[in-house]
Amino acid sequence: MTGPRTRTLLVRGLAAVRGPVALMAVLGLLAGAFLVTGPRVVDRSADAALGDLLAGAPAAAREVGVTSPPSRPLGPPATADPPREGPVAPFEAVDAVLRDVLGPEVSGLLGMPTWAAQSEPAALLRPGGTPLRPDTTRAVLRAQSGLDAHVRWVDGGAPGPANDTGTTRAGGTRHPVRVVPVALAAATARAWGVAVGDVVDAVPEGTADPVRVVVTGTFTPLDPGDGFWAAEPRMAGLAAIPDPLGGVTEEAALVADVASYGALSDALWRAGPGVPRDAGSPVLAASWRYPVDAGRVRTRDVGSVRALVTRLDTDPRLRSVPGRTLTTTTGLGGLVDEHATALAATAVMTGFATTGLTALTVLVLALTALVALARREAETALLRARGGSLRRLLVTGAVGPVLPVVLAAAAGAVAAAIALPGTTGRTALVQVSVVALVPALAGALALVVGVRARERRDPGSHAARRVRVVRVLRRAVGEAGVVVLAVLAVTTVRSRGAEIASGRQDWFAALVPVLVAAAAALVVLRVLPPLARRAAGVAARRRGLVAFLGLARSARGGARGALPVVTVVVGAAVLTLLAQLTLTLDTERETAALRTVGAEGRVDALRLDPEDVEALLARPGVGSVLPAYVEAAEVVLAGESTPVVLVATDVAAYGALVEGTALAVPDAPAEGQDGPVPVLGGPGLAPGTADLVVRGQRVPIRVVSRDSDLVRVVDGRSAPAVLVDLDALQDPVPAVRADTAFLDSAGARALLGAAEDPAELTPSGRVSGVVSADAVRADVAGLALPRLVTGTYLVGAVLAAALTLVALLLLLVASRAERAAAVARLRTMGLPRGRDRALAWVEVLPVVALGGLAGAAVGLLGPTLVAPALDLAPFTGSLTRPPLDPSPLVALGVAAGITALGGLALVLDAAAARRGPLADHLRRGDTA
């Protein structure tokens, strides 16, 4: 036999409340894991998002480009002289300077740099003087590094240095040159009928001399999407260059080795004998490309990239390369800014879920701590009566039992940290500590308040009134404090929203819904008692005994009753907010995809002739193919030009095609009149006459009606659309020909599945691509940040619902003993059996429903309240800020869901109560 020790008291006392403690430990574990995992997941998503962004950006934007124009010629060309060595290639010298400027950090992020020098386009002739092709055929001459690494050789091999010599007479005069070995795209060679070993003379259009080349190889690009080809698409195949008269010139590039730089320049413009070799080439423009490797860049590199962007503008080293004017271009600054904006938007978006969940966890933890403490109330009173000091009571009653919670939270945090490598900021640690300490704090506070209240002296009748007034005032002040905080948060977010959205992290924005919900909960707690009393009065008159009693009981509040109400309101607010934002994201993503595609599906082509349309229609599953011409154009009104997206098609048919989607258009403009072409205008285009600039030509138009939703995206730019009949536009501008076709979703699906290479879709091979709005939407939804937000919201919604349910169960458990006593008393007065459950329903459900409604209202207002800080664009693929349309239906649904959760809690509680002895055991706690 041993006497009890403090440890015995602690351990056995803990066992007495093992249920609540286990619940708190689970919550602590989850919270610890969640708070540590959250930032790490965000970090990963941020890195992945940066990768997405870089991979999706045009090649020129994600590289540092340097260009140097041809130098000024020193005297006329010495055309007839024998070949000389030509100017020294500038590549290595400039590369060395650039490496210096880039610095080691950025250099580590780069893929393989390449450089090139290129001439103006030249006409191509056979050595005998006959044109290579009957129509206009031109090519640029390009000395390019790194070609071999980017191609598969179809025939022959990589061009080497120029060794042979020859004499061309193409320009009319005799011009001895070194023959430059070149390679060209296999597709171009095929189109031109050129083979390896062929010799071609290239005759520039300007004052430069001709150059002779020999084809050493033909190739196909290994990866046509590689930025290498984006720098000069003519390397990969023929490019159709439109000319103002409606014709098309086909151009290609003949690619030489960089070692041929001197020979090429010498052939095109032979410098006089006195000109130094390092004076540069008067005919070749040089360029250097330092592409960023999307896979290597992490969010933490953003700083060094920003610094580099500044350096590129200001670094004197770039201006001190002798004889060279270097121009640097890069889109990296814009990209990292866009990334930062997207991250800020993500932080605000995920912040709603994380702060909401944290608040709910804190509330439920505090509530559980109070329930546990209440279970040991008699014990506390006993220890106090026997002379237990407050400190001892705190240790054994409030703090000791929650030690497992701290341990569980720590374990959760550590486990998460091990499972998901990454870094943990101090914020996360502070958050975990606070959450872990909440039960101890709540318990300690409740204990001290309880003990003090029990031992309060009778203040005397005079002071009693004052005490009462003080209590009322204190509550009012507390409530006012919460309301003021909420208002402050809302006004701050509304006035500084733009700052927050553009990258200034601000927890205020994320806290707004929780704070407003807390304020709403206080209102609910205020109106609930009088409301319930009034309802109880009505029930009493109608002789609804159970209704009367239940309502009368719910009219009485108390801290243990107040916390669940606050939890319900906050839970409903968080759920509504998440549901609403998810819904908005979904619809806006769809709208953005439709605006980008122009319909459910679209076919892009070089040109779309009637036989192409026929061929597409012949494909199984394709119901309608609507030819159209889409271009980024301008509307000029009173000297002011507005960028627009011109959509020329059969407007009536288009209207029918997009009927029922977010793209629905007003009725077609009146047709067949003389004068200005009637058009439908997007937002900002005032009805009336204006000029449409299309293909360099001004067409008078008349905006007959305006639709604020008529917005389209073309070339990565969102603009109001101008919808016009293709036929009507072709009258004044015959050069406009259909190059696009709109499809319905079934057609898009059919065509996407029909052929690997879109060129095979029609015999003409002119189709270059098929897109569907669904695919675009799926692409956007699959990006890192949208996935992060969707995932966070899903997890957040599930956890918020679970926490709300737990709070409701705790409410029932906490009030069960009291209710059981009431029922026992009522039984003796003749309450029929089975009505006791009804008592619980009447007592709890109205409270839950009211709380759910209040929370849902807050959630409904939420997005509007924080609108200035909320930018959904990064998650929808929209280029402009999507609107936030509150949806009362969603709010009502959530309120109904919360009420259903209340019902579920009641059913669970009833089931637990039916489990007889065990339930008894639980109900009394282990204290009695």
């Binding site: 009890p4 008291l9 026997r386 029990r454 031992e455 002296r457 009693a464 282990d926 009695a928």
Partner: protein, 307 residues
């Protein structure tokens, strides 16, 4: 208890020696939501050192209120309450804590509220010692001693749920006297028990009084209990109203009933007396050489004497 006393008769207190319990004009008012309940309205009580006094009274008359004040759990609204020299109106928390640990032992009305369910009987008795800072080695020994004295040594290692109601209350008594308090306050220790267990428990209380020399104030509804006590104080409406003193006579204990005259000279007449004589509203008082006569105030009824 064999010594029967009347105030100041059989056991004259030395003038300098203070009584163990002294209440003078004690008032306790409960205020809730604007309603005032005067639970004690000017109660006087004096219990000498080593006495065993029973406290009886109707439900709601203020017995528990008095005991909670005397045990230092509650404070009086007005008046004086002194126990073993401690002024209970003072609010010094530490002094109260020390008072609760060393000076007073308390037995709650609800048996379940006296014991921690997850400690054995011996551990429960050891608990107040732990709180009072008794050494770890000494606690089990002393707890065992106390339990033996109270006749429950054989169940020392059982938990409360494994004890009968009587055993529980005796263990609870052990808890109350664990630190050898000067004063033991028991609020209906036998209220929830059958008569046999009730006898055992009361016997244990008596033993605490006699063997340990503890002053005992015990609230009871049980007539069997009050009949075995030398002095029984009756409370009505928050005031001591009557006292019954019992002496050993030829035919066992002989009871004498007294009314209590408070310091302001107020007197409560037993309802049975006033009803019998139809005393209402006004009465006539006459001072006789050795007593005071109380007669109905209205004419036509012959005066009768009461004391």
């Amino acid at each position: 208890m064999t010594t029967t006393t009347s105030p100041g008769a059989a056991r004259p207190a030395a003038p300098h020696e203070e009584p163990d319990i002294l209440c003078d004009n004690l008032v306790r008012i409960y205020r809730t939501e604007g309603i005032e309940v005067v639970a004690l309205q000017g109660l006087d009580l004096r219990v000498e050192r080593g006495d065993l006094v029973a406290l009886v009274g109707a439900s709601g008359s203020g017995k528990s209120t008095l005991l909670t004040i005397l045990s230092g759990l509650d404070t009086p609204s007005a008046g004086v309450a002194r126990v073993a020299g401690h002024d209970l109106s003072s609010t010094d928390r530490r002094a109260r804590l020390r008072y609760r640990r060393h000076t007073v032992g308390f037995l709650f009305q609800q048996a379940a509220a006296n014991l921690l369910p997850y400690l054995t009987a011996a551990e429960n008795v050891g608990l107040p010692m732990l709180l009072a800072g008794v050494g770890r080695r000494e606690r089990p020994r002393r707890a065992r001693e106390v339990l033996d004295v109270l006749g429950v040594g054989d169940v020392a290692d059982r938990r409360p749920a494994e004890l009968s109601g009587g055993q529980q209350q005796r263990v609870a008594l052990g808890v109350a006297v664990a630190n050898s308090p000067r004063v033991l306050l028991a609020d209906e220790p036998t209220g929830e028990l059958d008569s046999r267990s009730s006898d055992e428990v009361f016997e244990a209380v008596r033993r605490a009084n006699e063997d340990l020399g503890t002053t005992v104030l015990v609230v009871t509804h049980d007539p069997l209990v009050s009949e075995h006590v030398a002095r029984t104080v009756g409370i009505r409406d928050g005031r001591t109203s009557t006292e019954v003193l019992r002496r050993d006579g030829e035919a066992g204990l002989v009871a004498e009933e007294y009314a209590v005259l408070d310091r302001a000279g107020r007197l409560q007449l037993p309802a049975a007396f006033t009803g019998r004589l139809g005393l209402r509203d006004r009465v006539r008082l006459d001072l006789e050489p050795d007593h005071i006569a109380v007669r109905p105030g209205h004419d036509g009824v012959d005066g009768k004497e009461g004391a």
